[in-house]
């Protein structure tokens, strides 16, 4: 008969040991906002629910000089409350404001949101735009993975069975201009139809640096490499912006579902990109 156990280790070493030992079906739980519906829907049938809630090592936000480190267990509301995030990663702050609803934000963690690897994961888009890197650990040791190569498919990541996300790191470059926009069918508790994050640096009227990320328009949250490529070196005229929209609409790979059609999502991706760029530049367009 199917059995399931629960464990809530207090140290990272203990957690990693359990994670290493448990050959099959260990499921890591943080805020548990996803695990319960999945269990009920029988999407998962783990033999062990491993709660990492009690691991102090995975908590806290540190901004030292040019790097911001966010512990994987940081809840979305903790992000919202953090002055460091507001200052050094306004884009992440903006995303947090639109994340699910106020109650879920008290439980959902940034690590969980990433590990869950939903194509619409709202925290992934700004972090991609921020060029974030994940600190991943296991009993075997530590490694770091750029977020842009972390997701491999809906609900799939490069995480090995015995690995945990320990923290998310990104450069705290407050000179760059950033913006995040989420488009959903409802003002709250809405799954993104499309979300866009951009980070830009303009030198002598030209785009010197561009990071573009999209959510809910591909099997995974995605970097808009082609859009970035297109933008770099350009002067952001209305025409360029128009073209950028087209590039984005072509680059995204959305599907049609009950919420919207593929073509509508492509269209919205372009629209949102344009708006995000304007927002980032504070409406200051040439």
């Amino acid at each position: 008969m199917y059995k399931m156990r629960y464990a809530a280790p207090r140290t990272l070493t203990e957690a990693l040991r359990l994670l290493g030992e448990e050959r099959e079906g260990v499921y890591v739980v943080a805020g548990s906002t996803n695990v319960l519906p999945d269990l009920r829907a029988k999407k998962i049938r783990p033999s062990l629910l491993l709660s990492i809630e009690k691991l102090g090592e995975l908590k806290g936000i540190h901004a030292d000089g040019d790097v911001v480190t966010v512990g994987a267990l940081t809840t979305i509301n903790e992000l919202l409350a953090s002055r460091d995030i507001e200052l050094n990663a306004g884009i992440l702050h903006q995303a947090a404001q639109r994340f699910a609803d106020p109650l879920v934000r008290n439980r959902a963690t940034i690590g969980g949101n990433l590990a869950n690897a939903s194509p619409a994961a709202d925290s992934a888009v700004p972090l991609l735009a921020l060029d974030a890197v994940l600190d991943i650990c296991s009993a075997r040791g530590e490694r770091e993975v750029p977020l842009s190569s972390f997701f491999t498919g809906p609900g799939k990541t490069v995480l090995e069975r015995d690995e945990l996300i320990r923290a998310v790191r990104f450069p705290s470059d407050s000179e760059n201009q950033k913006a995040f926009i989420k488009f959903g069918l409802r003002e709250a508790m809405a799954i993104s139809l499309v979300s866009v994050g951009v980070e830009l640096r303009i030198q002598k009227d030209e785009v010197a640096y561009a990071r573009v990320a999209f959510g809910a328009v591909a099997p995974t949250p995605m970097r808009g490499f082609r859009t970035e490529e297109f933008l770099v070196g350009k002067k952001l005229t209305a025409e360029v912006l128009d073209e950028a929209r087209q590039v984005a609409s072509r680059e995204v790979r959305p599907i049609s579902d009950v919420r919207a059609t593929e073509s509508y999502r492509r269209h919205i991706s372009g629209v949102l990109l344009g708006r995000a760029i304007k927002m980032a530049l504070g409406g200051g367009m040439s």
Partner: protein, 157 residues
């Protein structure tokens, strides 16, 4: 089948030790083991907010919180907060503003409003709407709920 997991927590000020299943939700635990009924089950997956409780002081949706993860924590439901001035004030305000119709969303709504007003002194109507946006109401159209909450916020100023 899942094996029992022993937890100790405080529920509405009472020390409780119990055995829960690994997949038991906090809501299920409160309703079936402790027979606390003011937290309701409206959707079972965090979409409606009728199951709102305070976990270590923060409003959460107890239908998507593992009972086991409440181990060592402090859980409060509306029935455990009847004497808190702010809660009392909100209840009174909800009643006099006609913000209560079928009443099924009301306990969760009041808990969320209370914990929000604890943090925020003079919120705008939009602030309040956003703060309550995790708690669905199908009867009132929300206006009287916002009125009632705002009235208490004003009193707090």
């Amino acid at each position: 089948m899942t094996e029992g997991y022993a937890i100790e927590l405080t529920v509405n000020g009472r020390q409780v030790s119990a055995e829960v299943r690994a997949d038991e939700t906090l809501l299920e635990f409160l309703r079936t083991q402790l027979r606390i009924i003011d937290a309701k089950s409206g959707c079972g997956k965090g979409d409606c907010g009728t199951c709102t409780v305070l976990l270590d002081g923060l409003p959460v949706k107890s239908c998507i919180v593992l009972a086991a993860s409440a181990d060592g924590k402090d859980v409060k439901t509306l029935s455990g907060m009847q004497n808190e001035p702010l809660v009392k004030a909100l209840q009174e305000s909800f009643v006099t503003h006609g913000a209560v119709q079928c009443g099924f969303c009301t306990p969760g709504m009041i808990l969320t409003a209370a914990s929000y007003l604890n943090e925020h002194k003079n919120p705008s109507r939009d602030d309040i709407r956003r703060a309550l946006s995790g708690n669905l109401c199908r009867c009132t159209g929300y206006k009287k709920i916002v009125d009632a909450t705002q009235a208490v916020a004003r009193r707090n100023e």
